[in-house]
């Protein structure tokens, strides 16, 4: 039973990690939290559903297609919507919550009931010891690893990536040395949307998709990001996986009723003890 629970939790944790990445990317660059992130994840799933139903794409092209589309949407929304919300935290939070509500209910009008997602990742069940894992779960883990490696490569070796890091560290100076700050911010949003949407497609075949699936995942991914360090990419990944495994363990061994509590208690405790998270670097101003 232990193996089953841990491996299951690992897969869920990867989803929290990837969606959490969206939070982290935006936070690093803007010091703001985009509360629509969970619903972007959900919208990504439905986008994937719509494409898969019409175009019958196999797994990898589907992921790429959804990622690319979401990227563009993210950039467009940054230009049209997010840019007007930068005044202060509260405005950004409430505005992004509003956007999330629009996304969720927009999808609800089109898909009021839960629907099954085409099994693009196959339906085999793999046995690892006493644990039985769906093939799709393995795809989740593999894709997460691939994604993290890709992002790392981009941030370290490409000009664009280094530019994004510069803006994250200090926008003024980055702008002074010639980095196009506005474009960097737009790209960051595009990335955060793409990541969330891809997570959505990864999880689609595992569970049914419904318009309200973004709520809890968004909140837990957020907790994961804070836990691991909301300005640290490896921290967020670690945070997501740890929360996924811990909550499954709690659900299996302690009480399935309070399983959700794990993520939020961790969040609260972490914030009070060490706000920058496990692997975060920046010291917040505590006055």
């Amino acid at each position: 039973m232990l193996a089953q629970i841990v491996i299951g939790g690992f897969a869920t944790g990867c989803i929290y990690a990837v969606v959490g990445l969206g939070f982290t990317l935006v936070y690093r660059t803007l010091r703001m939290v985009n509360f629509a992130q969970g619903h972007v994840f959900m919208a990504g799933t439905f986008l994937g559903l719509a494409i898969a139903e019409r175009a019958h794409l196999p797994a990898l092209p589907l992921l790429l297609a959804v990622g690319a589309l979401a990227f563009v949407v993210g950039m467009v929304l940054e230009r049209l919507v997010f840019r007007r919300l930068y005044h202060n935290h509260e405005v950004f939070i409430v505005g992004s919550i509003g956007l999330g509500i629009v996304l969720m209910n927009g999808v609800r009008v089109l898909y009021p009931e839960p629907v099954p997602f085409p099994k693009v990742f196959g339906t085999n069940v793999v046995e690892i010891g006493t644990a039985r894992i769906q093939e799709a779960n393995l795809w989740v883990v593999a894709s997460t690893i691939a994604l993290v490696l890709l992002l790392h490569a981009m941030f370290t070796y490409t000009r664009v990536g280094r530019g994004l890091r510069a803006v994250a560290a200090d926008a003024e100076i980055a702008g002074a040395v010639g980095v196009n700050v506005k474009r960097a911010i737009a790209l960051t949003f595009g990335l955060s949307f793409a990541v969330a949407a891809v997570a959505g497609v990864l999880i689609g075949p595992l569970y049914f998709v419904s318009f309200d699936m973004g709520d809890m995942v968004g909140l837990k991914a957020f907790s994961a990001a804070v836990f691991g360090g909301i300005n640290s990419i490896p921290g967020t990944i670690l945070g997501g996986v740890v929360i996924g495994v811990l909550e499954n363990l709690a659900g299996g061994y302690i009480s399935s009723a309070y399983k959700d509590l794990v993520a939020f208690v961790i969040l609260l405790v972490m914030l009070v003890w060490r706000p920058t998270g496990l692997l975060g670097r920046e010291t917040p101003v505590k006055v």
Binding site: M1, Q4, I5, G8, G9, T12, R108, P112, E113, P114, V115, P116, V125, R132, Q134, I203, L206, Y207, F208, S210, D212, M213, D215, M216, E247, N248, L249, A250, G251, G252, S256, A257, K259, D260
Partner: protein, 376 residues
């Protein structure tokens, strides 16, 4: 001056809400359910049932020449909004109300009805606490969790011969209510469950719970929840290698169960509110209903539409014919109502608490559809 602005805002709100057009002679029938939000598909079913019944009654001349006009309000499956929505019906001076989906909503909105003294027939909420000795004006046609859970417990032990039953239930009122009655019934039959676990309605992943259940090696798994969790649980259970047969109550009585869990749901035995095959009238109605409402934006949902339709056509309408719209007389008429409803075997009547007493209908999932349960 600024406090004045508050008043202005309130007054404007009041004015904008406006006056509802009302023909003085019409009988106003209120319908309340969730039509935007989680319970949308159930709410739409209720509305469709109401529309169908009222259309037929009006076409046949109405009630002693008076037409029935429907006043439909949406409570978004939210208890607080349900109270406000019910207040709206009261404000509109409806003569009676037939509807209500979701025990949390009904428990909330029935308080309004009891205080406003309007007869209310509940069609879509199964928590036992709705009909007790406290409600005077509230009646309920759908059977309660207690009845269903008890009946499925008996069926599981006596007819299906299950010996090791595990329970997984939603943490909401529906799941908890069912679990309590089910376990009490099992106890009376001399049995203890091998595992009892809960989940949150919005959960997607049940690995933790199902792993524990797998350890307990059950031959039957009772699933007390609604969609989409139930089919997800069934799929995941099969994937994990759990071979137990699934049983459940009304939350599973949704055609979508088979769409979402085509293989895993085969063989599930559950109590349901309505089934076309119980008698010829049921089949005839179901065919008419599906024909009328297919091709719309929402697929037809006979199960909840059936109760709304039957409540209006066979209970409310005859009473309106007999005693008119006097609320107290209507209430007494309901209380003493007896009769035959399609798809309900035998005769039905309301007991002292306003609950319609009726035998349940057991169905089994076979070949992707609900089939009458015939034996093993």
């Amino acid at each position: 001056m600024r406090i004045g602005k508050l008043f202005v805002a309130v007054a404007v709100a009041g004015a904008v809400l406006g006056v509802l057009p009302a023909q003085a002679q019409d009988i106003k029938l209120g319908v309340i359910a969730g039509m935007s939000g989680p319970g949308t598909s159930y709410g739409i079913g209720i509305r469709q049932g109401a529309e169908m019944a009222v259309k037929e009654i009006n076409a046949a001349g109405g009630i002693k020449g008076r037409k029935i006009s429907l006043v439909v309000v949406d409570d978004a499956s939210n208890p607080a909004q349900s109270v406000t929505a019910m207040q709206r019906l009261v404000g509109d001076q409806v003569d009676l109300i037939v509807g209500g989906w979701g025990s949390s909503q009904v428990l909330a909105n029935m308080e309004v009805v009891e205080r406003a003294a309007i007869p209310y027939i509940v069609v879509g909420a199964t928590n036992p606490k709705i009909t007790t000795d406290k409600n005077k004006w509230t009646f309920r046609v759908i059977f309660t969790d207690s009845v269903q859970a008890e009946q499925i417990a008996e069926a599981a032990v006596k007819r299906l011969g299950m010996k090791r039953i595990a329970v997984i239930h939603d943490a909401n009122d529906y799941g908890v209510g069912n679990r309590d009655v089910f376990l009490a019934s099992l106890k009376k039959l001399g049995m203890e469950p091998v595992a009892v676990l809960s989940y949150q309605s919005a959960d997607k992943d049940f690995t933790a719970q199902l792993s524990r259940i797998r350890e307990a090696n059950p031959d039957g798994l009772a699933v007390f929840g609604t969609l989409p969790a139930a089919p997800a649980i069934m799929n995941q259970a099969r994937d994990l290698g759990i071979k137990a047969r699934f049983i459940g109550t009304g939350g599973l009585a949704n055609e979508n169960l088979m769409t979402l869990a085509p293989k895993a749901s085969e063989g599930t035995v559950l109590t349901t509110y309505f089934h076309e095959d119980v008698d010829a009238d049921a089949r005839a109605w179901a065919d008419r209903y599906v024909k009328e409402f297919s091709g719309g934006s929402q697929p037809p949902r006979p199960v909840l539409a059936a109760w709304e339709y039957r409540a209006i056509k066979f209970i409310a309408a005859p009473c309106l014919e007999r005693v008119g719209t006097d609320k107290d007389k209507l209430r007494q008429c309901f209380g003493s109502w007896k009769g035959k409803l399609f798809s309900v075997p035998g005769e039905a009547h309301f007991d002292k608490t306003g609950q319609l007493i009726q035998p349940s209908v057991l169905v089994e999932v076979g070949n992707g559809a609900f089939q009458a349960f015939k034996g093993k």
